[in-house]
Amino acid sequence: MERKHFLKSLLLGAASTPVLLSACSKETVSPTSGTSSGSGTTTGGTSSGSGSCTVAPTETEGPFPTKTPASYLRSDITDGKIGYGLTINITVSNSNASCAALAGALVDIWHCDAEGNYSEYGGTGMQATNYQSVHFLRGRQVTDANGKVTFKSIFPGWYSGRATHIHVHVYSATGTSLKVTQIAFPEGTGTAVAAVNGYAKGLSGYTANAQDNVFSDGVALELATVTGSTSAGFELTWALSVPA
């Protein structure tokens, strides 16, 4: 239920025209001149100043942190998940510029694993999680001069109520949301969906595109081309236009 609700809210966001966060582009406060609460950042190592003094660490310096892109920024989003290989090619064009290729856009994708589970639903509880095992099957790439990005992943499984799909969120180079949408898969005899056959689950109870609450209003623009086989892996190709 919650998932449906969330999907709906995403669609709502997609339908409304994204407005530039104009005020955001101007950074008003530099990190050093900001207000410091002073209470949180000085625990442990330095003296906390709260009466009970703790020994300051006397240790070899380090670690030496380096600027790291968000763990989302990668082309291989498999994370050790088992399934039939899937290469995802997405091409983004600009509907405001005669459909010219849109370079430098952020393309964010996420989909479920072979069993139909998302990483995002594992991390919402109060439990701490292992830092090496979160955010599987989620990734982000920047489009090249041809507006293209490529991801390596596995063929998505399915879950009750939905046809096979991949979520896509396209941002401008400055991070403004341009489009939230989903990629649909061809179905029926001879298609990849039929070949994968829902992995261990089978396809009993599967929701076809025509019955899907997202795709049932017409799937033409969301439908990808999927070729390949379970042995050689699959290749998905899809193009979309966004107003940039």
């Binding site: 008003t28 990190p31 207000t35 209470s39 950042t41 300051a56 660490p57 942190p65 979160v134």
Partner: protein, 177 residues
Amino acid sequence: MTDRTITLCYRKIMDAGAAKPWDKLVWNDSYAEFRLQAQNFNPENRYRTFGEMLHYVPGADRLHFLVSGAVTGYLQQLGERMPDISDNLGRQFLRFQRFQFELINSDLQDQSRHQVAVNFVSEPLRWHDTVGQFLLVSPVAAAASGGEVLTHLVPLQPFLSIYSILTPETDAAANAG
């Protein structure tokens, strides 16, 4: 008395006053990620702060998790060593693998109001005794058989807490079962 097994939680808060390089990187990158991800929960840019989104938009609590992706790379750089907390000899000895990232406050138009925390959960420790303000602990993994056990004295301090406890009774029950 048999020793209890505990894990410690350190809630490391990073805000505009972040001074160390690691803290600043986490603070800056989590803010950039928040501005990206918040758009999923902010139709027509109606809201400005994380607090407003939490209050008005169903599902906005997922932002904690969604933004954490900007931080996991930095956690890896720590090499499983918990920052800041040292024993009474001034050595950092706590190891961690589990964490939880937390947005405390944020504002799409004012980075200085961005506040985040990483909750580090330590690897299991044997809690042998409490000496004044100190917990006498040793890593479970390093438990010696019958001989000498090397220990650490950890001072109790703000933002450090016991996250979980395993008493010998449940230990025994689990083994019996």
